[in-house]
Amino acid sequence: MSIRRWLEPILIVCLLIWPCMAASAEADGQALLTELAEAPASGKAAAITAIAESGDPRARHWLQAFADNKLSRMDDSGRFVVVLENRGRDWTVEDALTGEAIGEVSRRNLNRVRINNSLRSRIGNILGLLDLKVDDPAKRREAARELRGEVDAVMAESVESLMESAEDEDVRDYLAEALAIHRVQRGDVSAIDTLRGSLSSEARSALNKAASSDDPELASAASEALTSIEQLLKINNAAETLYFGLSLGSVLALAAVGLAITFGVMGVINMAHGELIMLGAYSAWGMQQLLPGQPGLALVLAVPVGFMVSASAGIVIERSIIQFLKGRPLETLLATFGVSLILQQLVRTVISPLNRTVVTPEWMSGSLMINEALSLTFNRLYILGFALAVFAALLLVMRRTRLGLEVRAVTQNRAMARSMGIRATRVDIMTFALGSGVAGLAGVALSQITNVGPNLGQNYIVDSFMVVVFGGVGNLLGTLVAGLSLGTINQLLEPWAGAVLAKVMVLVFIILFIQKRPRGLFPQKGRAAEG
């Protein structure tokens, strides 16, 4: 035992320093594995180290197979094999030394090389150290990351030397942290400084343990470091909540802005707005069906397609129903509700009552890692950006184009605008098409974060109305601010109130809010708005 204790580090260092020196003879391999198989439980660790030290290129493969319970010796021939398939009575194996496929061998003929959990974790660490030397820098970084909390006395020295020679800064930081954790575990007060500001759970658990140790100096230093870490964590959590809130808010704002346009300009409550969003989401799905294997391209194409589909549906609704209900907002509300029922049922009948999956393209999956405690998922990041882009485009349309000018004129005084030669009917059609088209865009965005199904629209319509009411009618920026703030409020409330109650509280909040500001955050002022 004691011999191994001091031998092992040396062996590992040798392994790392002379990685390529070993000659790989079949015989050596056979000998190493035989030693591993035949050594008593207490001697197996030495055998493992010997294998690792041998520098044999197959060493990694053997150790992995050993750790996975897949290394066996055939009773009859004494050959070492790796089990590939262990179902049924005959198992598929390959020769461990040559890699040659042997085919199926009776289970009874195989004698598994026994292993226990402590050996398994040792192998894990050794493999980790081996990974630190691979060519792929991403893999090296990952291996270094994984080492934190795993370093023990045996490995410490080799880790230290690796750290000094590491070129990658991240790798060096990770290894330094790993070493510091190890030292703190051993009661080294000076190592605590390195852990200050670390956000990893391993560092925290090491510090936690140290904080309750008997050594008062260590305990106080550790708890002090912990406090500063908690502080950092709090900031990161807040940032994360804010991010979730903003991303939820951008979805709400996107879903509501079309409504704000049609309501603001035409005074029309479009209850079918949710279904126009749904049509946009289904366009994303449809495009992916048309372009199988190209989910990313399909999604990009779905942006104009979704806009056009919903805009056309909007024009049909405007021409066939809304134009006949001028000046009767409550009737318009009822009629468009009927349209929403029809559209929902249409999707159920024609496509399916079940939810459809829209594939997330590769460039939208994954997340942007800011630090240990904070990572931003790409899909939400894209949607946030998309929402901002849509708002910017809408603002441009409203402020810089002839259509925008006419729309604003009609919003402020329909009769006057008409007498100035603006064709209010045409403006109505264009506005409704624009509002509906934006709903389609919202649908395309939503297809990335929620289920695409016939009820999609229903889930967003009440929220959208709330955003419009909160933001003030006919005000694009108001809608954006209202959407973002409602999303954030919702996320802030959720941790201690639960998702459903948070929603209820937001609704109650809005009901109370319009007590103070009946016309929203950014009301239109002046005499025109009073009448």
Binding site: F263, G267, I269, I321, F324, L325, P329, L330, E331, T332, L333, L334, A335, F337, G338, V339, S340, L341, I342, Q344, Q345, L346, R348, T349, V462, F465, M466, V469, G498, V500, L501, K503, V504, L507, V508, I510, I511, L512, I514, Q515, K516, P518
Partner: protein, 375 residues
């Protein structure tokens, strides 16, 4: 007295007469003809009619605020459901030890949730008088709080519609939660008896049907009484020119609050009568789509007529039963199309068509000529 005024009116007498005849007819069809006879009406159908009548009362309540006050409430289902839940709580307490778990006090779902005592707001619901009072008080309280806040800040028109929809939506979300203590998703069901009468006997169910008919008659007379009073004229004035009414010295928000609260109470009674006949109450009753469907009944029947609301509720619900039996997918298409067609082509509803067919002017004008004759 303002309440007896409608009884002198021809149209109310006609309505009450027809309703009485319908109740008598159903009773006769059920009781006189034996089971198996082609004229026999099964108790299932009787209860179905009872549910329709409770819906009709709800529609009358909606018409009172929409037709005469101009407030399109998309949340009246909430008052209906609250009345229903109050009744449901009473019925749950009546189950006693006959529940699945046999707990003497706690309803099954509470035992299932491992609750050890009754939440405070369940106290008193074992007493019929308390529960029945709550059927009126709970919806009224909600209507007063909501209405006070909304009317005080002059939330009207589409804003009010949206807020009422948000109200019922929020309540639906809340009632879906188990922690609320109202049975979560499943709501209340498996009722045993009401005032000591077993709900599974035909006699009780026939009695419930007749009680619903009587409640509809009373509700109708109350609404008609309000409409015929000076307050009814103030309501119409508010609907058509709110600012003008204010300058005449009427406190518009109080008029609105009063009528809205009365309407909510009627809706609560309708819900309470609905629950024992349907045998279940769950949060779906709060869903915005139910409330907006009620508005369709009123629109189809004819707004601001009261009797039109009754016709609309009966016609749409009968059609729904027939349709969902034959081809369920088509029902939503039909309902959606109905919304569009009624608002675009039938703004006066069936009542308007009836009036046109009879070649007479509007109902109000006819009343006035009567009034003139009396004066």
């Amino acid at each position: 007295m303002w309440l007896t005024q409608p009884l002198n009116e021809k149209s109310t007498r006609l309505f009450l007469g027809l309703l009485g005849a319908a109740l008598a007819l159903v009773t006769i069809l059920h009781l006189v003809f034996p089971q198996g006879h082609p004229m026999h009406m099964s108790i299932y159908t009787v209860s179905l009619m009872g549910k329709y009548l409770s819906y009709a009362l709800l529609a009358v309540a909606v018409d009172l605020v929409w037709g005469y006050l101009g407030m399109l409430s998309l949340g009246h289902g909430a008052f209906f459901a609250i009345g229903g839940y109050a009744m449901g709580m009473y019925l749950m307490r009546q189950i006693g030890t006959r529940g699945e778990y046999g707990h003497p006090v706690l309803p099954d779902f509470m035992v299932f949730l491992n609750w050890d005592s009754l939440p405070w707001y369940w106290y008193g619901f074992d007493m019929a008088w308390f529960a029945f009072a709550m059927v009126l008080i709970a919806p009224a309280a909600l209507a007063m709080v909501f209405g006070y806040l909304a009317f005080r800040s002059r939330v009207t028109g589409v804003y009010l519609s949206i807020m009422t929809q948000a109200l019922t939506f929020a309540l639906m979300l809340a009632f879906y939660r188990n922690e609320m203590g109202f049975g979560g998703n499943n709501g209340f069901t498996d009722f045993k008896d009401l005032l000591g009468f077993s709900l599974s006997t035909d006699a009780t169910r026939l009695g419930l049907f007749i009680a619903t008919g009587v409640a509809l008659a009373i509700g109708y007379v109350i609404c008609r009484g309000i409409v015929l009073s000076k307050l009814g004229r103030v309501s119409i004035a508010t609907r058509d020119a709110e600012a003008r009414t204010r300058f005449l010295g009427y406190r518009v928000e109080r008029v609105q609050l009063f009528v809205f609260t009365v309407s909510a109470m009627l809706a609560g009674v309708a819900g309470a009568l609905y629950v024992p006949q349907a045998g279940i109450i769950n949060p779906n009753q709060f869903s915005p789509i139910f409330s907006i469907e009620v508005v369709l009944w009123v629109a189809l029947g004819g707004r601001a007529t009261l009797y039109g609301a009754v016709i609309g509720a009966l016609v749409v619900n009968y059609a729904k039963s027939v349709f969902t039996g034959i081809m369920p997918e088509a029902w939503l298409f039909a309902l959606g199309a109905l919304f569009v067609l009624v608002t675009v082509f039938l703004p006066q509803g069936l009542a308007g068509v009836l009036a046109k067919l009879r070649g007479k002017g509007s109902d109000d004008e006819k009343d006035l000529t009567e009034k003139e004759a009396a004066a």
